[in-house]
Amino acid sequence: MRFAVIDSKLVPEKILGSPISRIDDIPEIPLDPQFSFQADLKKILNGKQLLFEDVPFSHEIIQQHYEHGYVTYRKGLITAGKRFVCQRCGNEDKTWFAAFHCHRCNEECAYCRRCLMMGRVSECTPLVGWRDDAEVGSNGRDDVAQRLLQWDGSLSDGQKEAAIRVERAMLEKEELLVWAVCGAGKTEILFQGIEAAIAAGQRVCIATPRTDVVLELAPRLKAVFPNVSIAALYGGSEERHVFAALTISTTHQLLRFYRAFDTLIVDEVDAFPYSVDETLHYAVRQARKPYSAMIFLTATPCRSWQRECREGKRAHVTIPARFHRHPLPVPEFVWCGNWAKLLQKGRLPGSVVSWAKTRCDAGKGALMFIPRIELMEKMLPLFRKLHQGIESVHAEDSHRKEKVRKMREGKIPLLLTTTILERGVTFPNIDVAVLGAEAELFTESALVQIAGRAGRSASFPKGVVSFFHFGVTEEMQRARKVIQSMNKEAEKRCLVD
């Protein structure tokens, strides 16, 4: 598509035009209050940055709304010096761009390969949006009188304090880190703030790196907010065009939003791939309104954030204790020698064998984390000499769901696993171990998450956590220290019995 600026308007112009990226200034059109805009188009475009082909309206209708000041066009790709910058995903890495002779603009047209899977953004691609919506009640609710939150659960003292802080940050448009230990119950602390923000006409988004978290959160939130429009967004979701007061989205899907949310809540801010992927940081920045609140939820903030919290440089609130008021199990370190070498000879360390045997005999479920799949597969037959029912699971395992279910039902005495079960999944009454805790992938945050699998339920609040190692690492020590300091704080604040 080629555009030209004619009478201070950007208009499609096959002959005189040029790709939108090469037009210096895209004129902003003053709003024509006389124009009767299409409400359905507004619902789709409000707070978004979409491609023409994402919008189920004709080019003509979209253009008409632009010419009356309702729709906005932004360049999909810009050039900054000798670089391209993708305006949708923030990519400016040369290895992620290519060019082709484009039949849309009839020129050599560069495109971004980084976010290609969401539709191609090239030099002739406008990002289509809706003008900033300053109206109050812009989240589309019209049933103001109704009570929004329908939940009769109760909060622990630690949760209560956090919930108040979250609500305040949301209404005051501040940034807040919620540092809540595994099992603290972090979803419930959001309810009060979400209710207040939505009642005030604001839009709220909860973003998480993982699709399964979206799938788990959406029904829970729909149950407690039955009168609030809620959209669940993930790759392949049907609710792509739903305009909702509360959006639950994978961080990846945020790339389609632009200045949409009054509050953005980012769950598991430390979790892969959010922590490593620049694109997703960019997506989070783009999706929030310029004046908006930002809430980070995590059990394991990165080291620099921990330091900022200690030094009083980062607004944060901690929930150092679990909902059931028992302290977190502190990991024990058990030296097990050169286990990898022993494994090559077809043997397991004695300490590990006796640990496993004790659990199998007692009938208490146990999880053991192994650094690599190949090692795990070598170990499985050795462990099976103790008990035939022992299983292993990893990310590509086609029986993964079934094994997790059987584990939950107590039908597997010991489950060997890679780090895929590091977070999210909870089993009621288990002990947890890591074999080879010195391995590089067992970072402080991974180890804290792993330890957090034990003692989760109120009926079985105790669990043993053992790190079998061939040399204690700094990460192991940090993990233990952070758990101990949380327990200490919980005691001080009378959050444990």
Partner: protein, 235 residues
């Protein structure tokens, strides 16, 4: 062109470690722009192949040097002799299916380079007068921004002659082989060119049933072309 860089594999974006062994066996990383790990996932078609369509022959499903599909085409008076020969480069396995989908449906143009050198090898081997891409409808061309068959020719450093045009777009992939064979002609001559006695090389991304290629061949032979060959990435 300081604004692009190709230090990484075009398919998986990993850094490339040029491997000497691979260069000997197959194309080098620097030529295809993709790493040896990805190259190793492409399965070349080879060995005993059908004289017409170039598929690997299965002794249970062939008659002399023809596969049973081609036998059926050749028994049909309307279609016999339309296609002289086809060469397909790779088996259409899951990896290639994904790569081609990204190439043409997502519009990742640069992936054409992965196949360009191999296509060029075929073009050198099979003499021809015109190199003709299977056309897209106007609508489809606008949607994708480029014609994936034409891009293969251009990236191979050759000139494409647009002898064909599409009458109307058809979602061919949704139809069975039988439906497709009996489909009315979908192509027409796109421009006037003296074709009498000429040899034409058609280029397409995938050879599925051979119906698309044969429909194109029929038009060109009707206009006087003597021989029709074709090359595709996959089958």
């Amino acid at each position: 062109m300081g604004m692009f860089s190709q230090e990484r594999c075009l398919i998986c974006h990993e850094e490339m470690v040029a491997s000497a062994t691979w260069r000997g066996v197959f194309l080098g990383e620097e030529v295809t722009g993709c790493c040896s790990r990805c190259l190793s996932k492409l399965e070349a078609i080879g060995g005993e192949t059908c004289r017409i369509c170039g598929r690997e022959l299965d002794s249970n499903f062939c008659k002399e040097d023809l596969c049973l599909d081609c036998v059926r085409w050749e028994e049909d008076g309307d279609w016999a002799g339309m296609l002289d020969s086809n060469i397909s480069l790779f088996h259409y396995n899951d990896f290639l299916r994904e790569t081609i989908a990204r190439y043409k449906f997502r519009g990742d143009y640069v992936l054409a380079r992965v196949f360009a050198e191999k296509i060029e090898e075929v073009l050198r081997k099979v003499p021809h007068d015109y190199l003709v891409p299977i056309p897209l409808s106007e609508e489809r061309l606008y949607e994708r921004g480029f014609n994936q068959s034409e891009a293969l020719i251009l990236e191979a450093g050759r000139e494409a002659t647009l002898l064909l045009a599409r009458i109307h777009s058809e979602k061919q992939s949704k139809k069975s082989r039988k439906d497709r064979i009996h489909l009315p002609q979908v192509f027409t001559l796109g421009r006037n060119e003296e074709l009498t006695g000429k040899t034409i090389m058609l280029v397409d991304d995938i050879y599925t049933t051979g119906s698309t290629i044969r429909h194109a061949a029929k038009i060109l032979k009707g206009a006087g072309a003597a021989r029709i060959h074709s090359v595709t990435i996959a089958r």
